[in-house]
């Protein structure tokens, strides 16, 4: 690895010889076209929807910001936001912490059977959320599931992972299981491209492993860490699949407004309130963007 790295470092910076012309549009045109259809048009359409209401008398009428006012005062909605907020604050650091420690362990070169570890920890990412939730749902079962098996074998009564008090943590466990390996791989890839010359310099300066990690490795993967954090935040706010599937096992613990996404789904497909559902989705999108943006800014400030 080392010779390749230093050769790359020695190569002069490529001169940008790109010509400004419309040719690029020929290549990005197809993407832009479909993107407009499935991203921009629905965003515009949902803003449009959020300004109207379906009324029994008079049909669809323009109501200005009434839907937004309703959303701001909607307890069910804000309880859902609070739940995913709590989820985010606990689950994302745990998951990224595991991912980071494993990535550092793999990168240290001190593990036996490194490639097995790398792929084994990544594998859950290939499992569909539906299958993951079904599997863990079975494992969580206190009567016939693994929790029940352990109770039988050890004559214990473990707390029910699907009870209202624990179900959010149980969902957090499923999400951590699914994505820790994926994030590990992103961080590990970033660690792999740190030039070996930096380590050599650190060694000459007499830096220990901990110092190498804090002074070289962590700053070098800041960008990858920021991307992983932002994607995880977006994922938390979008929480839908796992609670939606576990709902059949724990209908009392997981309500139809358990997360904002379950709520919008219930509003538009069971409640026929498409206009209000669009409003809730927009408010949630704005909250997500603001939080992601603030986290990104904080990350940048630390870097400076």
């Amino acid at each position: 690895m080392a010779p390749v790295q230093s050769a790359a470092a020695a190569r002069p910076l490529p001169v940008r010889k790109t010509r400004r012309s419309w040719t690029g549009w020929g290549f990005i045109g197809p993407f832009a076209l479909v993107f407009t259809l499935v991203f921009l048009a629905p965003i515009a359409y949902s803003v449009h929807l959020s300004l109207f209401q379906d009324r029994l008398i008079g049909g669809t009428t323009f109501v200005g910001l009434d839907n937004y006012q309703r959303a701001l005062q909607d307890r069910e909605f804000w309880e859902g936001v609070g739940r995913v907020g709590l989820f985010l604050v606990v689950q994302v650091p745990v998951m990224l912490g595991i991912a980071l420690l494993v990535a550092l362990a793999l990168d240290s070169g001190r593990l036996y059977g490194k490639s097995f570890f790398r792929i084994a920890i990544f594998l859950p990412y290939a499992v569909p959320a539906v299958v993951a939730a079904l599997m863990w749902g079975f494992l969580y079962g206190t009567r016939f599931g693994l929790v029940g098996d352990i109770d039988d074998a050890l004559n214990t009564t473990l707390p029910d992972p699907l009870s209202p008090g624990l179900v959010l943590a149980s969902i957090g466990n499923i999400v951590t299981w699914e994505f820790a390996g994926y994030n590990m791989l992103i961080l590990y890839s970033a660690l792999r491209v740190i030039p070996a010359s930096l380590y050599e310099a650190a060694e000459i300066d007499g830096a220990g492993q901990l110092r190498v990690i804090t002074a070289i490795k962590l700053p070098a993967i800041r960008g990858a860490l920021a991307i992983a954090t932002i994607f995880s935040i977006i994922g938390s706010f979008q929480l839908f699949n796992e609670p939606s599937i576990l709902r059949s096992l724990a209908p009392n613990a997981i309500t139809t407004s358990y997360t904002p996404n379950l709520y919008t789904y219930a509003l538009s497909f069971n409640g026929q309130q498409q206009n209000y559902a669009a409003t809730v989705a927009i408010v949630m999108g704005l909250i997500t963007m603001v939080v992601a943006y603030v986290v990104q800014l904080r990350g940048m400030r630390k870097a400076a």
Binding site: K17, F27, L185, Q209
Partner: protein
Amino acid sequence: MGSPTTLTSEAAPAPQPRRTPAVPRLRTRRQHHVARPRRSVLLTALTGLVVVYSLLPLVWLVVGATKTQKGLASSFGLWFGGDFALWDNIAETFTYDDGVFTRWLLNTLLYVVLGAGGATVLAVLGGYALAKFAFPGKRAVFAVVIGAVAVPGTALAIPTFLMFSEMGLTNTPWAVIIPSLISPFGLYLMWVFASEAIPTELMEAARMDGASELRVFFQVCLPQLAPGTVTVLLFTMVHTWNNYFLPLIMIKDPDWYPLPLGLNAWNAQAATAGGRPVFHLVITGSLITILPLIAAFLLLQRYWQSGLAAGSVKE
């Protein structure tokens, strides 16, 4: 998980008492240190805990697929029951309910080939354009795409459903395939990868020789983009193969279900009045669903890992 201190407790270099001249000793020490550090049993064991956590549910799934519906309830989850019913279960999974599982498998393949395949083509073309051309509106394209990534996919799903519904596309395969064609992450990865992998001089040389832009792309650049393309293809494949929310909204007709939706329907069947629980088929079907993706990741490991590493060079 292991704290930073456990990571470093093994790290102190053991003194190397050797009677070799100064310069070679420096070299052996450095090799020992940078390229080949000592392996650590403790660190391996700690990381092993994460491996156990990652693999345990999958072991449970494999074991569960060998059991009958009755055996599932009466035997310990992580060990084989009395009867080995794997082959029966596989046969029943494919034949139950007039072989609807086969239909779901073919649907999923259709969505993956057209959706993930198309998404990869669009991402490669778009990423190449962003990396290698200056064109009017480039900055705007970039800002809009990055901004749109932060919009929750589910926030878009409902308006997309309503739009598609008015266009008469819902309940058809197109409702799943068209939204799958866009992968902002794929575009980003391809953009970074193309910036790294294609020397602009090579393109200039080909143009000088009179090659058209299309020819430059197909004959000069595309081969260089192979590892990045494989990476994007695998990740869009996983996304499409595993997608649940989009088809849940778009598809009402079970004949057009992809596998995850079908499996969930089988699972929910036990809860409906008079429904027969088929948990052994849910479990065997789940195993069959994840095997192709795991196989793809294992077989193509070398390609996608190098593609991902190149993708993270940019700071």
